[in-house]
């Protein structure tokens, strides 16, 4: 999981930012945009803990 964590987490961040931008330019509709954001959120919380360290203090 660890080697995949960083690319997956970065992909999730892209999946959080890009769909609204595509929606802004009418390249994506509202439903798929919201679904992509949800999937990106799930991927982020699955991958990011293996990538980001710290936060205990």
């Amino acid at each position: 999981m660890k080697p995949l964590a960083k690319p997956l987490a970065l992909l999730a961040l892209a999946g959080t930012l890009l769909p609204p931008v595509l929606y802004l330019f009418r390249l994506m509709s509202e439903g798929p945009m919201k679904l992509t954001l949800l999937v990106a959120a799930l991927v982020w919380f699955a991958a990011a803990p293996f990538w980001l360290k710290g936060g205990e203090h």
Partner: protein, 460 residues
């Protein structure tokens, strides 16, 4: 705003009563990361829309926030970080060396109670998201509500508050970890909300869409926005609470790290959150004065990801705040176990969360929070920069062995009482009060110390 009010941790291992040694100092990335994460919190979802409800224009928001946040960063850099890296002590120990133990106890009391109300606002914000799937059965509060809007609302708040208190009582390491991991994603959800709102409004011209509501007198203008941005964390920079953080910095230049929190959380996130209410007012006919709770607005903008973000943002910021409030209470009554103190704090916080008054009047509350707590920072600034120049005994309590320095109590209490008078009687906005209160406290401390401490005996 910041949700990292720092309370002196229990003795043992965190250099609470000694300068941080060279080997424990941290590099700049720790500070940039911490400030970026800690200032993108649940309250940001309230503050942005409240600016709109108060009639701020696009110019006020864009340039007022730019200037106010710059002033906040400069305060952190040239006051807080400067003193922190010279003394390397926590606020509490530094204060104790000047004021004596008893006044630190009083400070802890105010700190603990205000933390509870702040955490209560987080419970309220989170509850507006939890209520969304139960549409129709949970009535949401509006900006004007001070009392709970219904039984279902109370039950949601009680459930959330109990869960947050339970986790905080077990120690907040896990939640701090979740908060750390969630921070970059949460920031992008704010940005996503802003972009989606611009798409729905059909323009990217902020100046065209952010306008004060017609026929509604503006309650905040350019200088109000400047002062709010500057002083919403007054307790942390002017009030010196962040001495506890920057004492670990290698150089005072690390104070610039606060810019990460100010310009990501208190600039971009606030403007994005403000766009949520702008859209609801312009396109869906919402009353800007009554407002719309964050949960339904975020749900409408970005769906489930937004609801998850609101709950996590509220939860990860409420939990450390409850935990730290518990520590503040424990500091007052050391015989109290940390778990018991946290449960007391969590109970107060949950009860506060049921009443939407604090969250819905967050702009006011944050100003009062700074007004009450930040003046003690002026005492530290006078002690550090001016004491020798004006002939005052530095670190008076250490020199004399006293547990109570009346000069500090009066210098703190008189300006705060004066500020509260102007707030209550003359209706002065609370975010204009921290700076004059802080300056008055510093000046009075010099005067009272000159009167009473001219011949302070040194303790052998």
């Amino acid at each position: 705003m910041s949700e990292h009010p720092v309370v002196s941790p229990p003795a043992g291992g965190e250099y609470e009563r000694e300068p941080v040694p060279e080997r424990a100092l941290k590099g700049p990335s720790a500070f940039w990361g911490m400030y970026a994460g800690e200032h993108t919190a649940g309250t940001e979802f309230m503050i942005g829309p409240l600016f709109v409800a108060w009639g701020a224009s696009a110019f006020d928001l864009i340039f007022g926030l730019l200037l106010g946040n710059l002033l906040a960063v400069l305060t952190w850099r040239f006051l807080t970080a400067e003193i922190a890296t010279r003394r390397r002590l926590t606020l509490y120990y530094q204060l104790e060396r000047i004021t004596g133990r008893n006044l630190v106890t009083l400070y802890n009391f105010f700190n603990g109670v205000l933390f509870c109300f702040l955490a209560g606002a987080m419970v309220t914000v989170s509850a507006t998201a939890v209520g969304v799937p139960f549409e129709g059965r949970v009535r949401m509060p509006s900006f004007g509500d001070t009392w709970p809007p219904g039984v279902a609302w109370v039950l949601v708040c009680l459930g959330l508050g109990a869960a947050m208190t339970f986790v905080a009582a077990r120690g907040y390491g896990f939640v701090a970890r979740v908060g750390h991991v969630a921070a970059p994603w949460m920031f992008l959800v704010f940005v996503a909300c802003g972009v989606v709102m611009l798409a729905k409004l059909g323009t990217t011209n902020l100046f065209a869409v952010i306008q004060p509501p017609a026929h509604t007198p503006a309650k905040i203008g350019f200088w109000g926005v400047v002062c709010f941005a500057w002083f919403c964390n007054a307790a942390m920079h002017l009030g010196m609470a962040d001495l506890s953080i920057f004492r670990f910095a290698r150089k005072p230049a690390y104070g610039w790290a606060s810019a990460a929190g100010m310009y990501l959380g208190h600039y971009i996130a606030w403007i994005c959150a403000a766009l949520l209410l702008v859209y609801w007012v312009r396109e869906r006919g919402a009353d800007p004065v009554k407002g719309v709770p964050p949960g339904p607005m975020v749900w409408d903008a970005v769906g489930w990801a937004g609801l998850i973000c609101v709950v996590i943002a509220g939860w990860t910021t409420a939990n450390p705040t409850i935990y730290r409030a518990g520590l503040a209470f424990q500091g007052m009554a050391p015989r109290l176990s940390r778990v018991t103190a946290t449960l007391v704090a969590g109970t107060v916080c949950t009860l506060a969360g049921i009443f939407p008054a604090v969250a819905m009047k967050l702009l006011d509350f944050v100003g009062l929070y700074g007004t009450i707590l930040c003046p003690v920072g002026a005492v530290i600034v006078v002690d550090h920069f001016l004491a020798r120049r004006v002939g005052l005994p530095a670190e008076y309590a250490v020199r004399t062995g006293t547990g109570f320095n009346p000069a500090v109590l009066l210098a703190w209490a008189l300006p705060v009482l004066g500020a509260l008078y102007f707030y209550r009687v003359h209706g002065v906005n609370s975010f204009f009060l921290p700076l004059p209160t802080w300056l008055a406290c510093g000046a009075l401390y010099v005067v009272f110390s000159k009167m009473w401490h001219r011949t302070a005996p040194a303790v052998a």
